[in-house]
Amino acid sequence: MIKKFLGYPLMALALTACVTINIYFPAAAAEEAARTIVRDVLKSEQIEQAPPVQEGDKQSYRIQANPLLVAFGLVLERLVPEAQAAQADIDINTAAIKAIRTSMQRRQTSLAPFYRSGAIGFDSNGSVSVRDLAAASLKDRNLLKKLVADENADRAKLYREIARANGHPEWEGDVRATFAKVWVQEALPGYWYQAGGGWRQR
């Protein structure tokens, strides 16, 4: 019984210890930063905000637990987020990132008709991929290819630069993965995105 009683805090410690790994890549802050940039790029096309999180959704994640365990967990939760908070800011306001964002914003106006027609979509790698070249007129197909090449070059620079600007070039892959998720989440109605190895339309 005593062993079982001691087991809960140890398990909680183990679980929260897993969370502390995220200190090295502040996923939540990165996601928020990515969302800011993505919305900014897409805003000229944006007609709807993402639906707010329903209270019921939060409820479904609550679990019933031993009050002592909850209290212990809360103490750890108080401590650990502070440690995270110290390094959780993601800086996206450097001249470099601004220049890339400006370049992407300018291009979005030209890309938007191709997103809407389904010629291109957000792929699972945080880039733009040609989904159906036939959805573009013959004379526009090379323009489309140029826009995609330029956009992907900018996106690659953006992910690299965010990692570098925050002092962790090794985060580039994590930044890219975060953006890949956020581009899909923020995709405007009618846009296509890759999921589960295939294309889906929002």
Partner: protein
């Protein structure tokens, strides 16, 4: 080929019934159950021949079912009739026959026919109107001893169903090919097969799109005129294809016939035994774009190039670039150009790839639409050889520009061979009153497929006017000149680097730029990194240039870890200070004090509201300014003070003025705005 099996069946004639004689009339009936080959079959065959008078007969041949070879479909209830079969002096003739099939791969058929068979072995069958692929076909077959010929006239056949009827028309089924074919196909041959084919065909309203969109046509009209003959085991051809209307896309090339009829000609032969496809001549004319011609020899099933010569000529550089060059340059710094002028090109391929090339340029002008660079009016010729030495190539360029910095005219003399370019003599490019001299230049990997282009060079800069240079860049005009040696300058993997230092003689002192690197210099967001060192700059010259207010004295300093992104400052570590051994007078004007105060604190010192306004200038001991820029925030500092502030200017004498900074952290945007507020006269700081 007819198999032996059905011949034996024909001889067997299982339930054969024939012959009845009524007075002078003769009627013969033959019935056969089946005749079949390896992959075809005739079922329930009945042949009736009736003759009421000498020289005239009626013929009815009926077949219940004909299964075509190679799975091409089935014909059912076939009737071939001729009520007026005449036996003339030369042989039998039918003037008004009728052919009927209730069902065929091309639908039900009902057509008149004519035919004849002469005693000397000549025969003719003329079927006037078959319904095929939603269109009409007239077929005339004739023979004489061992020779035969077929004359096929087609009118508006739908291309897609047509392809299902003939193995020869092998179209990708998923491409949704639509169009209408009309014209004449004439074939002649002997028992061994065809010996000549002439075609005059038009495919109209041609539309298709491959599933991946990489190949497509819209409303195209294509006319083919071809003459072929079999001679000595080879097919000789002379073909002429014109394309007067519509557009096609074959990744990455898009061609629209809107500018005029596109013409393609080819003459040569195909040796089926030797597997050689020889073009004695070929040409492609894209109106108002380019004319291509040449010869060629391809070999094997894969049609690998054995020998190919391409001669191209274009007086329409813009259309040549847009149609045939830009699609292959997408993603490079040359994919968004405006082009004018004339280009001539000769390229020779052998089995290893490009062997020789010659390029002739006449009044060629290139300008990047994003304003990054331009090359004006270029004339000359370039010769290149993969293996051998070549004559010196000469190019003359009237003017050029890089990021708005214009150059004067210059010429290039170089040898282009193997995988690189080597200068024959230095290239001297006039820039802003001075010159950049390119002493050595080696480009490797740009001229061979599959290589990474990279170059290295040694260059020097002499007497480049900073005033002209800064004006061209829309910066505050600097006085002085740019001098320096750029040793071991390299470009590889989109990284431009300068091994040596670049010295700028400016403001009566010098600025030494070192560790200069530019990543992706012609990309959308170039990244520049460098270190700079200032030695004994005259503050008098500097402040006069920027109309900052007057300061006398010298200035030393350095800017380390400069990083510009898209030419905008992203980070640097700057320290400017009065050198210890400065022997000049140290004086600072009231206006300069005001401006320095504003830089440090964001507000003016307000000297003009105090008694100090009666003094035009003050003495100072030292100037010291440190700026650490990281992203959006600049950290300011100067000479340390005990009270936590820092001196930007430490005064001397009486009346003594100290400019003391209190703010250590300032938004870079605010600092730039402070500098912009200080703009006076024509100077502007950005």
């Amino acid at each position: 080929m007819v198999s032996r099996r059905w011949l034996s069946l024909l001889a067997f004639v299982a339930p054969g019934v024939f012959s009845a004689v009524v007075g002078a009339a003769i009627e013969i009936t033959v019935a056969v159950d089946d005749i079949q080959g390896e992959d075809w079959r005739l079922s329930s065959i009945a042949l009736r021949l009736r003759s009421a008078s000498a020289g005239f007969a009626g013929l009815v041949a009926e077949v219940d079912e004909l299964v075509l070879p190679q799975g091409r479909g089935t014909l059912r209830s076939i009737q071939l009739e001729c009520d007026d079969l005449r036996n003339e002096a030369q042989g039998w003739r039918c003037e008004a026959g009728r052919l009927h099939a209730a069902e065929s791969p091309a639908g039900a058929q009902e057509t008149p026919w004519q035919g004849s068979f002469t005693r000397d072995g000549r025969w003719l069958i003329d079927i006037a109107q078959l319904k095929v692929a939603r269109g009409a076909v007239a077929l005339k077959l004739s023979g004489e001893q061992n020779d035969w010929s077929a004359d096929l006239r087609v009118h508006r056949l739908a291309v897609t169903p047509l392809s299902q009827l003939s193995e020869a028309i092998d179209l990708p089924t998923a491409w949704g090919i639509k169009g209408w074919a009309s014209g004449v196909l004439e074939m002649h041959g002997d028992p061994s097969g065809p010996t000549g084919i002439n075609a005059e065909l038009v495919v109209d309203q041609l539309n298709f799109s491959s599933p991946d969109g990489r190949h497509a046509a819209e409303n195209a009209t294509v006319k083919l005129l071809a003459k072929t003959r079999m001679r000595g085991g080879a097919w000789f051809f002379d073909t002429n294809l014109t394309w007067p209307k519509g557009a096609m896309y074959a990744e990455p090339v898009f061609v629209d016939a809107g500018l005029g009829t596109i013409k393609v000609n080819a003459k040569g032969f195909w040796g089926s035994q030797s597997e050689v496809l020889q073009f004695d001549s070929w040409s492609i004319q894209l109106p108002q774009t380019v004319a291509l011609s040449g010869t060629g020899r391809l070999r094997g099933d894969a049609k690998a190039i054995d020998d190919l010569t391409i001669v191209a000529r274009s007086d329409q550089g813009a259309r040549l670039y847009e149609t045939l060059l830009q699609p292959f340059l997408i993603g490079s710094a040359a994919d968004d150009l405006e082009v004018q002028g004339s280009v001539g090109l000769v390229v020779h391929f052998d089995a290893k790839g490009i062997e020789q090339a010659g390029l002739e340029l006449s009044e060629l002008v290139l300008a990047d639409r994003q304003g990054r660079y331009s090359i004006g009016t270029t004339d000359g010729s370039v010769a290149w050889d993969r293996d051998k030495s070549v004559p010196v190539s000469r190019l003359s360029v009237q003017d050029a520009s890089v990021y708005q910095i214009p150059t004067g005219s210059f010429s290039i003399e170089a040898r282009f061979s193997g995988d690189g370019i080597r200068l024959e003599k230095p290239v001297v490019v006039p820039v802003s009153g001075g010159e950049i001299r390119l002493d050595n230049f080696e480009l490797v990997g740009a001229l061979m497929a599959g290589e990474r282009p990279r170059w290295k060079a040694d260059a020097s800069v002499r007497g480049v006017s900073l005033e002209q240079l800064t004006t061209a860049l829309d910066w505050p005009p600097f006085a002085g000149s740019l001098e320096g040696t750029l040793r071991d300058t390299r470009y590889a993997d989109q990284l431009f680097s300068v091994g040596g230092g670049l010295q700028v003689d400016a403001f009566d002192g010098s600025i030494l730029v070192q560790n200069l690197e530019i990543r992706d210099p012609l990309g959308s967001v170039p990244v520049l990194t460098a270190d700079a060192e200032f030695r004994r700059l005259s503050l008098l010259a500097l402040t006069q240039t920027f109309s900052f207010g007057r300061i006398e004295g010298r200035l030393d300093g350095q800017i380390d870890d400069i990083r510009l992104f898209a030419w905008q400052p992203d980070s640097f570590k700057m320290h400017l200070y009065t050198p210890q051994d400065d022997d000049l007078k140290h004086r600072i004007s009231q206006r300069a004090v005001e401006n320095l105060t504003e830089i440090g604190n964001g507000i003016s010192a307000g000297l003009s509201t105090t008694f100090l306004r009666i003094f035009d200038e003050f003495r100072y001991d030292r100037i010291d300014l440190k700026v650490l820029l990281q992203g959006d925030v600049a950290e300011l500092d100067g000479l340390a003070r005990a009270d936590g502030g820092y001196y930007l200017v430490k005064g001397a004498g009486l009346p003594r003025i100290d400019v003391i900074g209190r703010n250590r952290s300032v938004a870079w945007k605010d600092l730039v705005e402070r500098l912009q507020r200080i703009q006076v006269e024509q100077a502007r700081i950005q």
